[in-house]
């Protein structure tokens, strides 16, 4: 499902951020990615949701070599991947409901077909009362939950998350972990970048450690 071979990444003429990264995740796998700040975790995730191209090496997603993908092939692949961004990337002019429903909307689904699903998910992440609120009035934790809800609403085959519990209290972090575990149990491949050691311990899933651009199993 995800395969990296000898992947290296550098920005412009700068030093290599990622060096010879090799790993493979099969369907239904779940991995944590940890490491110190600046180690390249976010860059690795950006490679996986096709926002960056590697300087060298090969990345395959859903058994497709991403280096040969045309522009028109990228959108269908991204629709199969849910992403939780560290900075949430919610659209401030849309309500929480509209932000969460965005992936379904761009797929061309009608609001009648997904309204209840979105409201149910918002209730599950504790945001039903904020469904009509705009991101500017949401707290950091609420924004994070909205971002997670947006990432999972379309039932993606791969879920990538960058510090998904960084702004929530331990109780909610545990609740969100259960959501990720449940998605994984249903077949979604989950790849979470986090500093939260407690979360990693609770999940009891394999961990990759990224240090100085090099990846190794923890």
């Amino acid at each position: 499902m995800i395969e990296l071979q000898g992947v290296g990444l550098r920005y412009g003429d700068g030093p290599e951020i990622l060096k010879d990264v090799n790993f493979r995740l099969a369907q239904g796998d779940m991995r944590f990615l940890t490491g110190p700040s600046g180690a390249g975790k976010s860059s690795l995730l950006r490679l996986l949701f096709l926002a960056l191209k590697p300087s060298r090496g090969h990345i395959a997603l859903f058994d497709q070599d991403t280096s040969v993908l045309g522009r028109q092939d990228i959108s269908p692949l991204r629709r199969r991947i849910g992403v939780v961004f560290q900075d949430f990337r919610l659209l401030n002019h849309l309500s929480t409901f509209d932000n969460v429903a965005l992936p379904l909307r761009v797929m061309g689904q009608r609001v009648d077909s997904y309204r209840q699903d979105v409201l149910d998910l918002l209730e599950w992440v504790g945001l039903k009362e904020q469904a009509h609120a705009f991101p500017e009035v949401l707290s950091g934790g609420e924004k994070q939950r909205a971002a997670i809800a947006r990432a999972v609403i379309a039932k993606p085959e791969i879920l990538l998350a960058d510090e998904p519990t960084g702004n929530v209290d331990p109780v909610l972090a545990k609740r969100l972990l259960h959501l990720f575990l449940e998605l994984n149990r249903l077949g979604t491949t989950v790849f979470l970048a986090t500093h939260d050691e407690a979360l990693i311990k609770q999940a009891r899933k394999p961990v990759f450690r990224l240090e100085a651009g090099q990846l190794r199993a923890a």
Binding site: R78, L91, L94, S95, A101, V106, M107
Partner: protein
Amino acid sequence: MMNSAMQKLGQIIPSEAAPLRNLIVTMTIMCYLACLAIGALVLINRAVDGWTRGLSREVTVQVRQIQKLDMEAELQKAITLLQATSGVIVAEVLPREAGLKLLEPWLGNTNLEELPIPRLIRVTIDENHQPDFVMLDKNLKNTIQGASLDTHRRWEVELTRMAHTLSLLSYVILALICASAIAMVIFAARSVLDANREVVDVLHLVGAKDGYIARQIDRRFMISGLTAGVIGIALSLFTFLGLGLSGNVENNSVAAASYSLLFAPTGAGYWSYSALLVVPIVATGIALLSARLTLMRMLKSTA
């Protein structure tokens, strides 16, 4: 209550982040100018049609006064010859006063009676079976001394050439207006996309295709083009009406031309309005297509 709040989805690209007011104002001016140019084009075409139809229906025979010759007898000979010519419907001698009237603007009206002015014969011809003008001219010259045939061809050619030049000028103006409108839409589309770069990035990351993103924006351009076209045509109609009612519509003034543009007989009137209606259609098309092509090209260059 919550469900009803979700009935209306928010705009994916916020309209307040993509103001097109300036585009509507400038395109309205362009559409207004285009309507004026089309109005001029319609009037030119209509005038040319009238001139050429009138000129091709009539020719004139001129008989110069020659000493010791009986003018009335010469005129009668000319009439007999003309009436015997195939393709001539009517030949009538114009009274001497008609010739004098034609000279008045140049010579004034004193002592004209004493001048040996030529006499004119108006000849109405069958448009579909025109006589052989070369042969007719030859026969007239052989039979009547001092006679010559004026087919008005020289005037027709001059008038038609002038009208074609004016028509061409109108088309060039229309082309320049279209080019300016396209350039304005391209600049506006770029501005809108630049102003919404973050939104576009998020849309791409959640799997939106370029076409989907472009559609969220180009619809607004289409509506702007239509709005500008409709306002432009309305303003031009008010202008033609104002000009038409501001002067004497009986003489050949701008007022008469404007009046005839709006209140021409049914067929010609429909043609005027149809030509003007092209403006909002073309404005809408230009706005939609230029915006769509620009957006697609710019989106292809983004991540």
